[in-house]
């Protein structure tokens, strides 16, 4: 197992290099000039643009720029400097990524609790009113845009009830609404996945065997059924969590959360190359780590898979 993990971690190096190359090239060939954008809608003089381009090192050829980026990264761990705020990119990421991580953890945690519970009960009470209501809610949860849902929550909890702050991310109270906003849609997906996975498992003979032993229903469901239904659930949760590593742009925008998603979108709009490159690297890395964790969890969830981890 340890060997497997080490190998997977080592494999990240070429992946990261590839990601850097792709992102760098994409940004290179995308139209738009960071100097012009920084000077604003109203433009600046030609010489002002040239001055900025020089400052940003945009006049060097493609290969030199990419080489410089990689060299600085490998030799100094330096991701470059943000064109806009003049802060080191690593500092900007250090400011935004923890927020994204918190939001992801909280919302996915919430989603898992709600989703798995709803999914299990729906599966156990298939075709009951509970099942129908839960699945209809799940449908609503997946189809309701986060953006709209977030605003509704804000209107209800911030303006009318005045229970929670509408935006920002400075305290736990601030995190509730955004976590619920993202959590509900994830919960919906997880609930549906849990339900179908559980339904499949509940029909298996070993569930009847467990019942025939005289085991109580709750233990049958939780110990025997749920553990077997776990693989697709882990996959779904993993993907959700992994995607969240890239930030939730819309939710971050409406709740004014300084997360990595919003940072990236702003950076892309401004052709803030260093931030885009650094950000993508971190997102890709986080996504890979989540994937690795999911793969390791598989082994714990299902002993049949364990033998494959060498």
């Amino acid at each position: 197992m340890l060997k497997y993990i080490i190998r997977r971690v080592l494999m990240l190096i070429p992946v990261m290099l590839g990601v850097s190359l792709v992102v760098f090239t994409l940004m290179y060939i995308t139209p738009g000039n960071p100097a012009e954008i920084l000077l604003g809608e109203e433009g600046g003089s030609k010489e002002a643009i040239e001055l900025l381009e020089e400052e940003m090192g945009l006049n060097d050829p493609y290969i030199v720029r990419f080489g410089r980026f990689i060299w600085n990264l490998v030799s100094k761990g330096d991701l470059g400097t943000c064109y806009a705020t003049r802060q080191p990119v690593s500092q900007r990421i250090a400011q935004t990524f923890p927020n994204t991580l918190k939001l992801a953890g909280l919302s996915v945690g919430l989603a898992v609790v709600i989703g798995v519970v709803l999914g299990i009960v729906s599966a156990v009470k298939q075709y009951s009113i509970f099942d129908n209501v839960a699945m209809a809610l799940a449908m609503l949860g997946t189809s309701m845009p986060n953006f709209w849902q977030g605003l509704l929550l804000m209107i209800l909890f911030s303006i009318h009830l005045q229970w929670l702050p509408a935006s920002g991310f400075s305290s736990f109270k601030h995190m509730i609404l955004p976590a619920v906003t993202i959590g509900t849609s994830s919960a919906a997906v997880i609930a549906r996945m849990t339900r179908s996975s559980m339904l499949e498992v509940i029909r298996q003979d070993y569930i009847s065997t467990a019942r025939a032993k005289g085991q109580s229903e709750i233990v049958v469901i939780l110990r025997h059924a749920l553990k077997n239904a776990l693989i697709p659930i882990i996959t779904t949760v993993g993907i959700r969590f992994g995607v969240m590593m890239g930030g939730a742009v819309l939710t971050e925008s409406i709740f004014a959360i300084p997360g990595i998603g919003k940072m990236m979108v702003d950076a892309i709009k401004a052709r803030n190359y260093p931030v885009v490159q650094g950000g993508v690297l971190v997102i890709a890395l986080a996504f890979s780590v989540v994937n690795l964790i999911v793969d390791i969890l598989y082994a714990f969830a299902d002993p049949r898979l364990k033998s494959q981890y060498r």
Binding site: S208, T209, R211, K213, G214, N228, P303
Partner: protein, 321 residues
């Protein structure tokens, strides 16, 4: 039938499945009884209602869609259908246990076999986790598997070993009644024999009564004292092994025997029973076997025949006996 030794008595058991296509009458007006120490073979085609009947005894039928409409099931003199869920749980696994058809799927793939056996033991005995695991190892030894394999997961065992584990699990609490639902169907023939042999040995050793569900008359001949032939939710013929094998009276039973190849006969052709089982949502009004019966007469179409005892302990449900 000796009343004092009565272990199980089923009276007028009727079980329906409510489905989108209508009500499926899986078991209808079934009467059956068995004494301690007996081995009863429940024989019939797929869909005859054998598994439904025994799951009904265990109260393991999923509701919905299954519904026990009427009837009584007396086990050790007590009506199981009147028991609470909790009381039922203490009976399952302890008093009555069950072996399911397919050993490949009846073991939980994510638990070690030792844990699965120990689970049963711990449920019905007040002992520590460690003790129960040790007992599980002993049980494994009993069914011919080395104790150290208790830490293995089902996928690490062969099919025959899995069925042995299932049997060990079923017998772990020394139940009074063991229900074995086609315990050997999924195994290949050599393993079948071994497993059956071992089962027989253990049944004798623990003095357990057995309901053996099968459609394999060979197994019945080898293991059972009594035989009940089921057709479309009813028992059409019941008797001792001798009664059924030597003096089968019901046309369906006769048909079943005609389906067994007889290598001593000159003509090697089998004589299958014409037609198919009737649609369970739309059963014939009279005798359920009427549409396929070679002897069918007028009364068969409209009147369900009564159960007649044609010799001591030999019941047949047919107008023509």
């Amino acid at each position: 039938m000796e009343q004092k030794n009565l272990l199980l008595k089923i009276k007028d058991l009727t079980i329906n499945y409510n489905t989108y296509d209508g009500i499926v009458k899986a078991v209808e007006g079934l009467n059956l009884s068995m004494s301690n120490g007996q081995t009863l073979g429940l024989v019939g085609e797929t869909g005859a209602g054998k598994t439904t009947t025994v799951k009904g005894i265990m109260r393991l039928l999923p509701d919905p869609p299954a519904k026990i409409v009427r009837g009584e099931i007396y086990f050790d003199g007590e009506n199981l259908l009147k028991k609470s869920k909790k009381e039922m749980r203490s009976i399952r696994g302890k008093q009555i246990s069950m072996i399911f058809q397919d050993p490949m799927t009846s073991l939980n793939p994510v638990m070690t076999v030792g844990d699965q056996i120990a689970e049963t033991i711990r449920l019905h005995n007040d002992i520590s986790k460690k003790q129960s695991f040790e007992e599980a190892c002993t049980m494994l030894e009993q069914v011919g598997i080395k104790g150290e394999r208790a830490g293995d997961y089902p996928h690490q065992l062969s099919g025959g070993m899995k069925q042995r584990v299932v049997i060990a699990m079923a017998l772990a609490c020394n139940p009074k009644l063991l229900i074995a639902d086609e315990p050997t169907t999924a195994l290949d023939v050599t393993i079948q024999a071994q497993v059956l042999e071992m089962m027989k040995k253990l049944i004798a050793q623990y003095n357990t009564s057995v309901i053996m569900i099968t459609h394999d008359l060979g197994i019945v001949a080898e293991t059972c004292d009594y035989i009940a032939i089921m057709y479309a939710g009813e028992i059409v013929e019941y008797g001792t092994k001798q009664h059924i094998f030597l003096n089968a009276k019901h046309p369906y039973t006769k048909g079943l025997f005609a389906c067994i190849p007889d290598i001593t006969a000159e003509d090697n052709k089998l004589t299958p029973i014409e037609g198919l089982m009737p649609d369970p949502t739309n059963l014939p009004k009279g005798c359920k076997f009427y549409p396929r019966c070679p002897m069918a007469g007028k009364e068969c179409e409209n009147e369900n025949p009564a159960n007649k005892e044609i010799e001591n302990g030999h019941f047949v449900k047919c107008h023509f006996v």
